[in-house]
């Protein structure tokens, strides 16, 4: 019998934790496995889009909002946060408003990516001196990273709600739709491990690349600055492995993802400390956040770890 992470977690929770906690743990895992976590994911979307909205807000502030299009991610992340909040309370809102805004935000991320590519091209020397201009120009993959919470929102809009877990109709529905390999059905019943592993790989690449060139820019002054750069290929390999093998998805992927999550948290602390250590420190919070290390950037890397961790707790797609 192969190692299945959720089963093992459930078993050890039952063994080690007192009854109320172990029950809670079991039901959380069950909700994840069955795809019944729309409310929770909506809340997560709401929180992460506030964070990414703040991030893009001050980054674009540094660029003086020279192009009106730079306002769109601010507006969209605000809307996404509201939609996420609504989605947590209403299934209708989750299926309509959240889905729509998520799609628009994702599209905005891709459009932003094109703008940033053009921004690098517009630097003196353009793409013929890529290293210089990626370092000096607009952050290349940041708009795509901005799409992280939107992508989560899109997924959330297809999930079932927590209270649907034991509904008879849904049970029957799953049996009826059992043969279907439609992606919507897979999402609906929590069978999207490979899908989410792939997303993890993609986002790990984006955020790892961001970490690499922005840390390269300061010549890796702290040794800790190497950690996201070194973790990225490992996380990518684990994600690719998870697409291919169920065993990897249940063992290596959660381990590496947890590392990435922890690394992002440590990075967040370092970035916050960097801001506090600037002249004026916490007495000039706005100014120092603007010009200090990007406070939320490490959390974007942590988000990859979160995605990987979530993937490892899901069921695999039906073939």
């Amino acid at each position: 019998m192969t190692f299945v992470l959720t089963t093992e977690l459930e078993r050890s929770a039952n063994r080690a934790l007192p009854a109320p906690l172990s029950e809670a743990m079991t039901s959380i895992l069950e909700h994840l496995r069955e795809g019944c976590f729309q409310r929770s994911l909506c809340l997560i979307v709401s929180v992460t889009s506030v964070a990414s909205g703040l991030e893009v807000g001050y980054e674009h502030y540094k660029g003086s909002y020279s192009n009106p299009v730079m306002y769109t991610p601010i507006l969209l992340s605000g809307s996404l946060a509201v939609a996420g909040l609504l989605g947590a309370f209403s299934g209708v809102a989750a299926r309509t408003a959240l889905r729509l805004i998520s799609i628009v935000t994702l599209a905005d991320g891709i459009i932003g990516f094109c703008f940033h590519v053009r921004g690098v091209a517009r630097k003196p020397g353009g793409w013929s001196i890529p290293v210089t201009n990626i370092v000096m120009g607009p952050p290349l993959f940041a708009p795509l990273l901005f799409g992280t919470s939107a992508y989560l929102g899109l997924m959330a809009s297809y999930l079932r709600r927590e209270e649907d877990l034991n509904r008879v109709g849904d049970k029957l529905g799953e049996i009826v739709e059992a043969g279907s390999s439609d992606w919507r059905t897979n999402l609906r019943y929590g069978r999207f491990q490979k899908h989410l592993s792939f997303v993890t790989v993609l986002w790990a690449f984006f955020s790892g690349f961001e970490a690499m060139y922005s840390h390269y820019k300061t010549n890796f002054r702290y040794k800790a600055q190497w950690t996201p750069v070194l973790l990225t290929p490992v996380l990518i390999a684990a994600g690719v492995g998870a697409i291919k093998s169920r065993r990897i998805a249940n063992t290596v992927l959660p381990a590496v993802s947890a590392l990435a999550l922890a690394d992002g948290a440590v990075g967040f602390y370092y970035h916050a400390r960097g801001i506090a250590r600037r002249p004026g420190g916490m007495r000039k919070p706005l100014y120092n956040t603007l010009y200090g290390p990007p406070i939320f950037a490490p959390l974007l890397f942590a988000a990859c770890g979160f995605l990987g961790l979530m993937a490892s707790l899901l069921r695999r797609e039906k073939r």
Partner: protein, 564 residues
């Protein structure tokens, strides 16, 4: 009254005071780039140190103004005589007066010398070899780049490739022009440094705000000068920096060793500071002038001048400025003048028909300086000048920084004239030789080509010179040099020279960082020698080994340093 150094830093108070009759360990004449580092290192190592500075001890908040005309007091404006076929303009960009010296108004370009600069004679048959190699100085470059600290690209591809401790600065309009022009011609360039200006804040020094008054004394405190990087630490550790003290002569004891320094205070009253050893750090004109003025029986042609080379082999760098007019806005004044460069033409290329090379750098003159350049470059005057100046924001300026070789006939001597203290002033003779002229011609054309490639509609150029080094040459042979590889004079065991004047050749790099690195190395040597410098005539030329524990506080930590 607190003495302020920049908006956040204050001078440690009270400063220790030595009496004239106190015998100090080291008396350092001139607290500039080298002097500041020396005072700090020696004080930290526990020596009793006095720094004599002819100019004032700047309170940056009170004394400095962000104004071109108002900043002329940062320069050495006393009488000097200039001559030769290509007389140097003395004053602004090649001198400094006041604590911090020239580092107060340097553009803060901080490239290292290339390894080849240390063996010019061996490789090209011209100039001179250094009595040390690049690899002796490399650890000091790295240390000073951290102490200053230097912002720049993570990869600097020329010479000995290296990175920088602080990230690069964003480019201004002139940097854009340089990078665009170079890329178009397939010339490599670097952007955002290396420059001794903070791109992120550092301890109690804020980061650069790109307001453009670097050369007028940086009131922000982002640009490094020893006034704010090393002198405060020196004072914390018990050194005295005595401002308004113009050294007039160095006096010798009967046994041929230095006894102390005679100097004039603000009122012109003469004092005598006794010292067990003296280090002269007065830069390329004042150092030889002081040594020549100190001539005495046994040293009839100037102190430590048994070789006859004192004052000779003076060097300036070719600093031709090429200006180009663009249709789009450039805004010369934005960003530090120094923020992009190419050293692609640094090394000797036999195809070019001359030895050594040059660097291409951004320069960003403010309106008054720009107007002066345009007078020379295009004869602009009157209404024509007004027309040019109305377009100030459309002009970009790039500079050639070309290596001029050390020639014996380029020298500092004493003139018949006397200054306000009654001391004979320096007479500076400067001639260009064939190799120099070819190099300047080539460099000028190359930079004009870059300017056109960047899209300039009109390109003009002005010949000028930048920096000033040499005249108290360092070497291993006492018959053709004044000081040894650690700056100790060949003739007098407790007299040292440590500043830009000891450089045997100058490369095409701005000398500031190298001067400070040499000072840190000399300090390590003196500390290692200990009391032997004061009592023994034995000359130990072994490398001292670098000390990492003598850096000013805030610089020992990596990254953003702790304030507290």
């Amino acid at each position: 009254m607190t003495h302020r150094l920049g908006p956040m830093q204050t001078l440690p108070s009270p400063m220790r005071k030595f009496a004239d009759h106190d015998v100090v360990d080291y008396c350092i004449v001139g607290v500039g780039s080298a002097g500041g580092v020396l005072v700090q290192r020696l004080a930290r190592a526990g020596f009793r140190v006095v720094g004599l500075e002819a100019g004032p001890f700047w309170d940056t908040e009170k004394d400095w103004v962000s104004d071109e005309k108002g900043s002329h007091e940062l320069y050495w404006n006393d009488l000097r005589i200039t001559g030769g076929t290509h007389p140097l303009a003395l004053g602004a960009n090649n001198s400094g007066k006041g604590v911090g010296g020239g580092s107060v108004h340097w553009a803060a370009f901080a490239p290292r010398f290339h390894p080849s600069d240390f063996r010019v004679y061996t490789e090209d048959g011209v100039g001179a070899d250094w009595p040390m190699s690049y690899w002796d100085l490399k650890p000091y470059y790295e240390l000073l780049e951290r102490e200053i600290p230097v912002a720049g690209p993570a990869w600097f591809p020329w010479g000995d490739p290296h990175g920088h401790p602080y990230g690069p600065h964003p480019l201004g309009g002139v940097g854009d022009v340089l990078v665009r022009g170079c890329t178009k011609l397939g010339i490599r360039s670097v952007a955002g440094g290396p420059v001794a200006i903070l791109s992120g804040s550092h301890g109690d020094r804020p980061h650069c705000i790109y307001r453009g008054f670097c050369l007028q004394g940086c009131k922000v405190g982002a640009k490094a000068s020893t006034l704010i990087t090393h002198v405060p630490d020196a004072i914390t550790h018990g050194a005295e920096v005595r401002a308004h003290s113009m050294a007039s002569r160095i006096s010798l004891r009967e046994d041929g060793r230095v006894e102390g320094v005679l100097y004039l205070d603000r009122e012109g009253k003469e004092h005598f500071q006794r010292a067990r050893a003296v280090i002269v750090s007065g830069y390329a004109i004042e150092t030889p002038r002081l040594l020549l003025n100190s001539a005495c029986p046994g040293h009839r042609h100037g102190l430590a001048n048994s070789s006859g080379t004192l004052g000779k082999y003076l060097m300036a760098q070719a600093g031709n400025v090429v200006a180009g007019r663009f249709e789009e806005l450039i805004r010369l004044y934005k960003a530090p003048p120094a923020h992009a460069l190419s050293e692609e033409f640094y090394e000797t290329d036999p195809h070019r028909g001359f030895a050594r090379g040059f660097a291409v750098q951004t320069v960003g003159p403010l309106p008054v300086a720009f107007a002066k350049q345009m007078t020379a470059a295009m004869g602009a005057w009157g209404w024509g000048m007004r027309r040019v100046m109305m377009d100030y924001n459309h002009w970009a300026t790039l500079g050639v920084l070309g290596e001029i070789l050390p020639w014996e006939d380029n020298r500092v001597e004493l003139a018949d004239e006397r200054d306000q203290h009654g001391l004979p002033v320096a007479k500076v003779t400067f001639n260009l030789h064939d190799n120099d002229k070819k190099l300047i011609q080539f460099g000028e054309n190359k930079v004009m080509e870059i300017m056109r490639a960047a899209g300039a509609k009109q390109v003009v150029q002005e010949s000028r010179f930048a920096h000033l080094v040499g005249a108290v040459r360092m070497g291993s042979d006492p018959s053709n040099s004044v000081v040894d590889r650690f700056g100790r004079t060949h003739d007098i065991p407790n007299l040292f020279v440590c500043d830009g004047s000891i450089l045997p050749t100058q490369g095409s790099a701005n000398p500031g960082l190298t001067i400070q690195a040499l000072a840190a190395r000399t300090a390590d040597y003196l500390i290692k020698q200990g009391d032997a410098v004061f009592f023994s005539n034995r000359r130990d030329l072994t490398e001292p080994g670098i000390r990492y524990d003598l850096s000013p506080s805030y610089t020992r930590f990596k990254g953003n340093p702790r304030i507290a």
